[in-house]
């Protein structure tokens, strides 16, 4: 991992308070895999100590520039508070403190493996990256849901992922089918035994996915969130209770995670 100031090369506002941020950093891009995140700095514009801590943001995509090596790192960010609002004001040419790539990644699927992605809201980011990396070589499907069409910021970009199957669901029916993203899953998994499921989104959604995969022949990986101080394993601020063998331990989301096996998560914990 590297911590450096890199230039912002593009900023696009999407609907519903989401934006796409792109930075140029060949050294970091060379290391990025689906599931990785970065800690993005707050000290651009004028130097200020407030807000203070870097914000954890997943990698949405990593693309080559005019040469062939990866160089551009893309993020999809939802305006959620002061820090993300500050990030939304970045413009091409600004410098941004980028620390990463950090954390664990979604496992590289074996060639014959069927991959099912289940995402909610901004949780689509690491799954989009999985699709971009592996859709050409793997049989993959995406289930993507939110309350309403404005909660599916990447909808318009999904065709360029090369996914064969994209199932959109909204609770109000404003895009795709009406319903929760988990509703079609039991049937789908039953007819696709042995699949790997990668999920990222609100905890309640991932918990529902875990309950479904527990009863079928499927392996689940989830990407977890928590407040973070350092992102590199030093502050112990980001821990969650994680089941390891027959014990539950306080485990760092930034280091041992954010990607965990579904059955390692104690969903009963509320925090």
């Amino acid at each position: 991992m590297l911590c450096m100031e890199v230039p912002v090369t593009d900023m696009q506002h999407v609907n519903g308070g989401y934006f796409l941020l792109q930075v140029h950093s060949p050294a970091q891009a060379a290391l990025v895999r689906p599931g990785h995140f970065f800690m993005l700095g707050m000290q651009h514009a004028d130097f200020s100590a407030d807000p203070l801590l870097n914000r954890p943001i997943s990698v949405l995509d990593c693309t080559p520039d005019d040469h062939t090596a990866p160089a551009a790192i893309h993020f999809l960010i939802k305006e959620a508070g002061r820090g993300t609002r500050l990030l939304s004001r970045l413009r091409a040419g600004d410098n941004l403190l980028c620390h990463g790539p950090l954390g664990t990644t979604f496992p590289e699927p074996s060639p014959e493996c069927r991959l099912i992605l289940v995402g909610g809201g901004v949780g689509i980011a690491p799954l989009y990256f999985c699709a971009r990396r592996w859709s050409a070589t793997h049989d993959m499907a995406l289930f993507y849901g939110g309350r309403s069409v404005t909660d599916l910021p990447l909808q318009g970009l999904l065709p360029q992922t090369g996914l064969r199957e994209v199932i959109l669901l909204t609770e109000d029916g404003s895009a795709g089918r009406r319903g929760l993203v988990t509703e079609p899953l039991p049937e789908y998994l039953a007819s696709n035994p042995g699949a790997k499921v990668y999920s990222c989104g609100p905890n309640a959604m991932m918990e529902a996915v875990a309950r479904i995969t527990a009863h079928v022949d499927a392996q689940l990986w989830v990407s977890m969130e928590n407040r973070m101080g350092c992102g590199l394993g030093a502050c112990l601020g980001c821990v969650l209770p994680v089941i390891e063998g027959d014990k539950t331990a306080m485990v760092r989301i930034c280091k041992e995670g954010p990607v965990f096996r579904g059955e390692q998560i104690d969903w009963k914990i509320r925090y």
Partner: protein, 307 residues
């Protein structure tokens, strides 16, 4: 130019250390900076037995600072010595262990292990812990308690330098520093975090599972500098300044107020190479001011004040 400083019996190549609990066990940062460039590394607080720490959420950002209630999660002193220290020892930088306990016996047991371990340059005791044998009153909130634990630890430490890390959550800091000096401490480090609270008005729940947490970061710098200034002015003991140091200017302010060295904490979270940058900034400062020995700069503000 000479950046080296003396803390009691300990000679450091420069005055910049990393603060306990903000630099892991050191190795986490080896990718980001040359650990050999630091004055010293203070590792995460160690107890006799491993501790699981508090339930999440453990941190909450506040204006120019953060509250933490990690709950002193650590691997325990034995595990540290056998699995973490060997790799750390390879560096040419003094390793300072930070020790804690809930009884005087726990402090002395932890310190006895550390005093007999090769590769530990000094021990810093964190007295901001409840004394479970005396109704949970903190070792840090009565000078006599601080003195008693310091004295007991001093006895088991042999020649190893002993630093006592004081809590800022007291009415008068000076009697605590005096008690440490009288009990044989080689230096005091101040400050630890300020106790704070943050709540969520919508849910009427605390932001931290532990309710209270320790405030750190730039928000505490003026408060911490006042305490450092008072101790440096009134007590004859080396002081290590801590609190909200983000850059060389902040660090040099502490030294002008009389601190012989500094510790960098929360800044490590934002820029993992912050401590290295601060060393470089100090060298630039000395070059620009024609200072050949940084040690001569210590207390510059105090001298101006009394002249």
């Amino acid at each position: 130019m000479d950046l080296s400083v003396q803390i009691g019996p300990l000679r450091l190549k420069n005055p910049v250390m990393t603060a306990s609990g903000t630099f892991g066990y050191g190795l986490e940062f080896a990718d980001y900076l040359d650990l050999n460039a630091l004055g010293a590394i203070v590792v995460k607080g160690l107890s006799l037995q491993p501790r699981p720490g508090n339930a999440p959420p453990r941190i909450y950002e506040t204006a120019a600072g953060m509250l933490n209630a990690i709950g002193l999660q650590n691997v325990g002193v034995e595990e540290f010595v056998t699995t973490k220290l060997p790799a750390l020892r390879q560096y040419d930088t003094p390793i300072i262990a930070n020790a804690l306990g809930n009884t005087i016996e726990e402090y002395t047991e932890v310190c006895r292990v550390l005093a007999h371990t090769e590769g530990i340059a000094a021990v810093e005791i964190n007295v901001s812990c409840p004394n479970v044998k005396e109704g949970g009153i903190h070792f840090a909130t009565e000078p006599a308690q601080t003195g008693r634990v310091t004295e007991a630890v001093r006895r088991v430490m042999g020649d190893m330098p002993l630093i006592v890390k004081l809590s800022p959550n007291v009415t008068h800091i000076v009697p605590f520093a005096r008690a440490c000096r009288a009990a044989g401490a080689d230096a005091v480090s101040l400050v630890n975090t300020f106790v704070g609270i943050a709540i969520d008005l919508d849910t009427m729940r605390p932001r931290l599972s532990n309710l209270t947490g320790g405030l750190s970061g730039p928000a505490i710098k003026p408060l911490a500098q006042r305490l450092v200034w008072e101790v440096c002015r009134d007590v004859d003991i080396p002081v290590i300044g801590i609190g909200g140091i983000m850059n060389a200017t902040d660090a040099l302010e502490y030294m002008a107020l009389g601190a012989v060295a500094v510790q960098v904490g929360t800044a490590n979270f934002i820029r993992p190479d912050a401590a290295r940058q601060i060393v470089a900034g100090m060298a630039d400062f000395c070059a620009a001011r024609g200072i050949t020995r940084l040690e001569n700069f210590i207390g510059a503000f105090l001298r101006r004040e009394t002249s």
